[in-house]
C-alpha cells in the first residue's frame, strides 16, 4: 500500500462511513475495508477504473467530484477523502465546501510545490519543475494549481476551516514506506496530509 494511503488510513476510525473522491480503482477503499472494516464509497471519473473498482466489489459512482458530492445529506460520512486530487480540481472552493458539509471529518492530501528539489529546478534550470510527485511537462499536466503546505494552511485560516492534524511526508511517489517530516516541513515535504473538521463538527461554522 502506498505510504500516503497508509498515513490516511491511520487517521480513520474503525467501522466508519467513508467517501473517497477520485478513488481510482479503489485501492484505498479496499485497504480500509480490510484494515478498518469501513463502509466505503467512491467517486471516480475514469470508466476503466470505475469498472475495475466495482468488479472487485466496491461501491463506486462514475462521475465528477463537482457534481456527485451534492446529493449527500449534511454530515452523512464520517470521513471524506480527497487524496492527491486537490491539485486537479477545477472548482476548488466549491468542492472543499461540499466535502466539509457532507463529511464530519475530511482528509485532504496533495503534492507540495515547495519541496527543495522543485525550488532548485526553478532557481538553477529556469524550467517548470519535474519530479516524481509532479511528473508532468508544463504542457500536459492535469495539475491546474500549485499548492504548498503554507498556502493550504492560509486557505484554511481564511475560510475558518479547523485543521485537526497536519502531516508532512517525505516519500517517493507510489512508495510503500516513508517518513514524516519534522524538520522544516515546508521545504522538505513532498506530500501534505490535512485532517479537517467538517461543518457539523464546527459549531460556529466556517467562512466558505
Amino acid at each position: 500500500m502506498r505510504f500516503d494511503l497508509q498515513i490516511i488510513a491511520s487517521l480513520i476510525r474503525e467501522k466508519s462511513r467513508v467517501l473517497d473522491l477520485g478513488c481510482g480503482k479503489g485501492d484505498l477503499l479496499e485497504f480500509l475495508q480490510k484494515s478498518k472494516q469501513i463502509e466505503g464509497y467512491g467517486i471516480e471519473i475514469n470508466e476503466e477504473k470505475v469498472i475495475l473498482g466495482i468488479a472487485r466489489g466496491l461501491s463506486i459512482i462514475h462521475g465528477d467530484i463537482d457534481g456527485e458530492t451534492q446529493d449527500y445529506a449534511d454530515g452523512y460520512f464520517d470521513y471524506v477523502i480527497l487524496s492527491q486530487t486537490l491539485q486537479q480540481v477545477y472548482k476548488l472552493e466549491m468542492v472543499i465546501k461540499e466535502i466539509l458539509r457532507i463529511g464530519r471529518k475530511c482528509i485532504v492530501s496533495f503534492p507540495c510545490f515547495n519541496h527543495i528539489a522543485i525550488k532548485f529546478q526553478l532557481l538553477f534550470k529556469s524550467k517548470a519543475p519535474l519530479t516524481r510527485e509532479l511528473p508532468y511537462e508544463w504542457y500536459d499536466t492535469p495539475n491546474i494549481r500549485v499548492i504548498t503546505l503554507k498556502d493550504f494552511r492560509e486557505f484554511c485560516t481564511k475560510h475558518q476551516i479547523k485543521i485537526l492534524k497536519e502531516l508532512a511526508i517525505s516519500t517517493h511517489y507510489k512508495a510503500t514506506s516513508g517518513k514524516s517530516v519534522k524538520f522544516f516541513p515546508d521545504w522538505f515535504a513532498k506530500y501534505g496530509v490535512f485532517l479537517l473538521a467538517g461543518q457539523s463538527e464546527t459549531p460556529s461554522g466556517h467562512g466558505i
Partner: protein, 386 residues
C-alpha cells in the same frame, strides 16, 4: 432482441433447457390488476438454469424487455439454430455464472411466449382475448412474477437484473418487495419514460392500429396486421441503435445497385435492413402484445406511483444494493435518466454503484456481448453473494 442470439464462441452453454408453466389466479380468485380489471386464470412461462442451493440464497432473477421471453440461455433442442437471448451473459463461467447461481426468468404477463396475453384463449368465450385482455402495468407484471417465485418456494432474491423494460421491473420489485431483494442491476433503464420516448412508443402503436388488418385487435382468425407490426418494429429498432452505429453499419451504402432507382423501392442498405428486421419480427410477435407491453412501460413512473411524486421517497428504506448501468450512446433511455435514478438513491441513503459504459451501440448495448458489462455484473454479484 433475439436478433443478437449467437452460439458461444467457446461452446459454453447451459445446454438443453425446458420451458415450464405455472398457472394461478383461477376463478373466482382472479388477479386484480392495477386498473381494477380482473384476470384469471393466468399462466406464466418460465425457465430456470443452474441449481438452487440448500438455503435458496443463490437466486438471480432476469427480467426481460419488450420483445424478450423466458428463454434467456441455452437451447430447446440439439438442432436449435439460436440460443436464448442473453446466452452471452448467462451460463457456466459467464457474467451470471450458472455454476454458482440459480437463474430464473419468466415471460411477462401479456406477452406471447407461453404466458397469458391478448392472443391467449379467453375461457369465457373460447376465443382469443384480443382487446378484452385488460391493460396492465409494470406493477402487475411484477405481482404475477411473484406468484411464480411463491410456487417455487423462493423467498429471497440475490439479485434482480434487467435491461430496458426489464430494468423497470427490477426497480419495481425492489420497491414492492424490499424484504425479498438483496440487490438490483437496472441496465439502460429509467424510472419513468420521457415524452420523447412515449411519443416514439405511440408512433409504433399507431403503425399497428393503422393497419386495416389490425381490425380493432380481432385478427386472430384472419389476415394478420403484418405491415403495421413490421413498421412498428422498424421504428423501434431505430430507437435501439445510435447515429454512429447506423453510420458504421450502413453509411449511405446502396442495397445492390450502384445508382438510385428513381422509384420508391428500397435503395439504401439501411432500408433493406430495417425491412428485414420488421418482417422477421412479424413471424414471432403478437401485434396486440406489442401494444399492451409498450403501454405498460409508458405508464411506469416509480416516483409518482410509489413515492407520491418523490423518487427519493420511493427508494427510502430499501435494503437492496444497486448497480446502475447506462450506455453513452443510448438516446432512448439516456444516461441522464440513470443519473437521476442514482441521485435519488444517494439521497435515500442507498448503497449504489453506477457506471456509464462508453459504446456506440445505443440502447441495444445491453444485449450484446460486452466485456466491461460482464466484468461489472460478475464482480457485483460476487460481492453480494459472498
Amino acid at each position: 432482441m433475439s436478433e443478437y442470439g449467437e452460439h458461444d464462441k467457446n461452446g459454453l452453454s447451459v445446454g438443453i433447457v425446458e420451458k415450464k408453466f405455472f398457472t394461478f389466479a383461477e376463478p373466482p380468485n382472479k388477479m386484480i390488476m392495477e386498473s381494477g380489471a380482473r384476470l384469471g386464470p393466468i399462466t406464466l412461462a418460465y425457465e430456470t438454469y443452474g441449481s438452487l442451493n440448500e438455503d435458496k440464497s443463490n437466486v438471480v432473477m432476469v427480467l426481460h424487455a419488450l420483445s424478450g421471453n423466458s428463454h434467456v440461455a441455452g437451447y430447446y433442442s440439439e438442432d436449435d439454430e439460436k440460443p436464448g437471448w442473453w446466452d452471452n451473459t448467462v451460463g457456466p463461467g459467464k457474467g451470471i455464472d450458472t455454476n454458482r447461481y440459480f437463474v430464473i426468468c419468466s415471460n411477462i404477463i401479456g406477452s406471447c411466449y407461453g404466458s397469458t396475453g391478448p392472443s391467449s384463449k379467453n375461457p369465457q368465450t373460447g376465443k382469443p382475448y384480443a382487446l378484452d385482455f385488460p391493460l396492465f402495468t409494470i406493477s402487475d407484471i411484477v405481482r404475477a412474477q411473484k406468484k411464480v417465485l411463491d410456487h417455487l418456494g423462493i423467498t429471497k432474491l440475490l439479485c434482480l437484473i434487467g435491461g430496458s423494460i426489464g430494468g423497470m421491473q427490477a426497480l419495481e420489485w425492489a420497491v414492492s418487495y424490499p424484504h425479498m431483494v438483496q440487490s438490483v442491476i437496472p441496465i439502460a433503464s429509467t424510472c419513468k419514460r420521457s415524452a420523447l420516448s412515449i411519443g416514439l412508443s405511440e408512433a409504433q402503436r399507431q403503425a399497428i392500429m393503422a393497419d386495416p388488418n389490425w381490425n380493432s385487435g380481432n385478427y386472430y382468425d384472419q389476415d394478420y396486421p403484418k405491415k403495421g407490426l413490421a413498421l412498428a418494429r422498424m421504428i423501434g429498432h431505430i430507437t435501439y441503435l445510435s447515429e454512429t452505429s447506423m453510420h458504421n453499419k450502413f453509411g449511405r451504402r446502396l442495397k445492390e445497385n450502384t445508382a438510385f432507382s428513381y422509384d420508391l423501392s428500397i435503395d439504401f442498405e439501411v432500408e433493406n435492413y430495417l425491412h428485414y428486421q420488421g418482417n422477421k419480427f412479424v413471424e414471432r410477435f403478437d401485434a396486440n402484445s406489442y401494444l399492451y407491453i409498450t403501454k405498460a412501460s409508458d405508464y411506469f413512473d416509480l416516483g409518482e406511483q410509489k413515492g407520491g411524486g418523490s423518487l427519493v421517497k420511493a427508494f427510502s428504506g430499501i435494503p437492496a444494493k444497486f448497480l446502475v448501468i447506462s450506455f453513452s450512446s443510448d438516446w432512448l433511455y439516456p444516461t441522464a435518466q440513470s443519473r437521476e435514478m442514482v441521485k435519488a438513491m444517494k439521497k435515500s441513503g442507498l448503497d449504489v454503484s453506477f457506471c456509464e459504459i462508453e459504446t456506440d451501440f445505443g440502447h441495444d448495448s445491453f444485449l450484446l456481448a460486452h466485456e466491461q458489462l460482464t466484468k461489472l455484473i460478475s464482480g457485483f454479484l460476487n460481492r453480494i453473494y459472498s
